[in-house]
């Protein structure tokens, strides 16, 4: 890796070497906490289900970020892949009469494949356009899938939805197991995001984000690069949909908490922007803050209106005051502080601020 990757504004401040080492340390500690979490509070069903949803969103936002964060294309239709993954699991489990429990979860890779297969034509159509035209197209395609899931009732069960065979895991083990399944998706997704970021492919994506025409002029094959990122980002979202469907025990085509929920689309963007799009840690932080808050509020207030209002207000605050997100803003602060400290200590500023 060249030094440039380590000194990127969003990747971490300070000297390339120590910054990278600190990043690994933070990741290791975060993972250790995530693994140990159920041991501390595993018997509390409310807390564990919130933790499960947080992990599902961490995986989905990290995956969304691989496309939208790195390429700068705002996709508001990733619920397509979430829904396709969810239906894939339910339909396959029913049609093939899969044994409930761990065996059903072996279908999850198939959910990822289904999402990828769907992502190819969707990407080929939508990625011909840019900016708000792209945004509107992703929204329109999302509604097409919602309509198909509602109308193709012989396949999807119509408005009643589809349920895989009943999973008889007992509580509280049920929530703890699903928590670890979700965690097993978060880790490779974040690794994938990190690998893309430091690869040539990632650099091409970020070149597209900064100036697509110039990137093309410099020889980046923009369409294949964008499409690859789009498809790659769909796969973990599809798997997350499969896990979500099996956790709930069934899935509906439309409505709150369903397979094709417009709030899911917008939640990914909200979480990504709050944490900081285009970073590794930002989506994780955004998912943690937003999902923990909204789930807590849903448990506190029976009226769904409150959590909608809180979500919306948070979104306004992020767009108006924090458009770059927490992680990049905080990184800038830390960097400025270091530069100041180094300057007052008489050390070379150039060393810390290349």
């Amino acid at each position: 890796v060249s030094a440039a990757a380590g000194t990127d504004p969003a990747a971490g401040a300070g000297r390339p070497q120590s910054g990278a080492r600190r990043g690994w340390l933070v990741a290791a500690v975060a993972l250790a906490i995530a693994i140990a979490f159920p041991l501390l509070d595993g018997s509390d069903e409310g807390t564990m289900s919130i933790a499960f949803y947080v992990l599902i969103f961490m995986a989905a936002v990290s995956a969304w970020n691989i496309f939208s964060g790195y390429s700068g294309y705002l996709a508001l239709g990733h619920a397509i892949f979430f829904g396709v993954g969810a239906y894939m699991l339910a339909i396959a489990a029913v049609d093939w009469n899969v044994t409930p429990g761990w065996t059903t979860l072996e279908l999850l890779p198939l959910c990822g494949v289904a999402a990828a297969v769907i992502a190819v034509p969707v990407g080929l159509i939508a990625l011909r356009t840019r900016r708000h035209v792209f945004v509107v197209l992703t929204i329109a395609v999302f509604f097409i899938f919602q309509t198909l899931a509602t109308n193709l009732s012989s396949l999807t069960g119509g408005t009643a939805g589809k349920s895989p065979p009943f999973n008889d895991w007992s509580y509280p083990a049920y929530n703890v197991r699903f928590y670890y399944v979700a965690l097993a998706l978060v880790v490779p997704t974040v690794l994938l995001s990190w690998l893309v970021r430091r690869s040539r492919f990632g650099l091409q994506l970020m070149a597209i984000r900064d100036d697509e025409d110039r990137a093309r002029g410099l020889g980046v094959k923009t369409m294949p690069v964008k499409l690859a990122a789009f498809v790659l980002s769909a796969i973990p979202v599809g798997i997350a949909g499969g896990i979500y469907c099996y956790f709930l025990g069934g899935i509906q085509p439309a409505g709150s908490g369903s397979a094709f929920d417009p709030l899911f689309d917008i939640a990914l963007a909200l979480m990504g922007f709050l944490g900081g799009i285009g970073t590794i840690a930002g989506p994780l932080l955004g998912a943690l803050v937003i999902e923990a808050l909204t789930e807590k509020f849903t448990q506190l207030f029976s009226n769904a209106g409150w959590y909608l209002i809180i979500d919306g207000v948070l979104f306004v605050i992020v767009v108006a005051f924090l458009p770059r997100g927490i992680v990049p803003s905080a990184t800038d602060r830390v960097r400025a502080w270091r530069v100041k400290r180094a300057a007052s200590a008489g050390a070379g500023v150039a060393e810390v601020a290349p």
Binding site: H132, V135, V136, P262, N303, G305, L308
Partner: protein, 294 residues
């Protein structure tokens, strides 16, 4: 499909098309003034419907008479939307961020409506909602005729304001060249705020008719926004006349699909139109220019 059914479908399509054009007018106006795709338009129409519903159930005010109250109320909502929300969007990624901002506004509206009215379906009732006129072999609901007339009057009023008043001239100037408009003494910010206010105020009428013809609940905005987007995209973003024509075309096609095939599939007409138009003719049927880059 019989000939009578076809004629009935076309008749319904033209009348409801006018009503949909009225609902879409705010969307196309805000795009014209601000270059912003207002995802909250659906939620605003539903807000208008709930305002009329509330006045009628609480104070027994006739929905059409109630417009005297709901139109100013929605104007205030539009001013709040522009001043408190749209204007707070920074210059960085302005198009994408303002879509997110209007989405956030839609979620807040939906939350407020859920708190106030719950999540069950409501509908506005009046004597003329269930009565209809019988011409030859065809039935035309009275409310559709009233709605169509209201749409024509409102669209005519918007057109007159845009093209026959000093304010309209300033508005069009601000749209074409912000700096030049500033220089010749147009207060661009104030003009924009008022224009968004007018755009949202127009949705009061559309919402009232929608609420009288279709059962609605706070989530209905999502169902609406895709139809409205299809209408303004086909008509050419920013074009009032385009919205009127494309709304009728789309509603007639959707009605024919509903009669010939199944009502649940007619919504796909709208989505397909959004995709095809954006891919092959982004300026729509009546737009002179391509969708502008920010």
């Amino acid at each position: 499909m019989s000939f009578d059914a076809l004629v009935q479908a076309v008749l319904d399509g033209v009348l409801t098309g006018g009503i949909y054009a009225l609902m879409a007018a705010g969307l196309t106006l805000i795009f014209g003034v601000m270059d912003i795709i207002n995802i909250a338009q659906g939620a605003m129409v539903i807000t208008g419907a709930y305002l009329s519903f509330w006045l009628q159930t609480k104070f027994a005010i006739d929905p059409f008479l109630g417009l005297l109250i709901t139109i100013p109320a929605m104007f205030v909502l539009g001013v709040v939307f522009e001043y408190g929300f749209l204007r707070r969007v920074g210059d960085r990624d302005r198009t994408s961020m303002s879509i997110l901002m209007s989405y956030a506004f839609a979620i807040i509206l939906e939350g407020l409506l859920t708190l106030g009215f719950g999540t069950d379906f409501d509908s506005i009732s009046a004597p003329y909602v269930n009565s209809s006129v019988h011409i030859l072999n065809f039935y035309v609901p009275d409310i559709d005729i009233f709605g169509f007339l209201l749409a024509l009057a409102s669209m005519g009023a918007i057109y007159a304001v845009l093209y026959r008043t000093k304010f309209g001239a300033g508005l069009r100037a601000a749209l074409q060249n912000r700096t030049a408009a500033d220089l010749i003494g147009v207060d661009v910010n104030r003009t924009r705020t008022i224009a968004v206010g007018i755009a949202v105020a127009v949705s009061a009428g559309g919402g009232m008719i929608y609420g009288a013809t279709t059962p609605f609940y706070p989530d209905s905005g999502y169902d609406l926004i895709s139809r409205l987007l299809a209408i303004v995209i086909l008509g050419g973003l920013g074009s009032i006349i385009g919205a009127m024509a494309s709304a009728m075309i789309l509603l007639v096609i959707a009605d024919i699909v509903a009669v010939a095939w199944e009502p649940t599939w007619s919504i796909l007409v709208f989505y397909a139109v959004i995709i095809l138009v954006l891919l092959f003719r982004p300026q729509g049927l009546f737009g002179q220019r391509a969708v502008r880059a920010q």
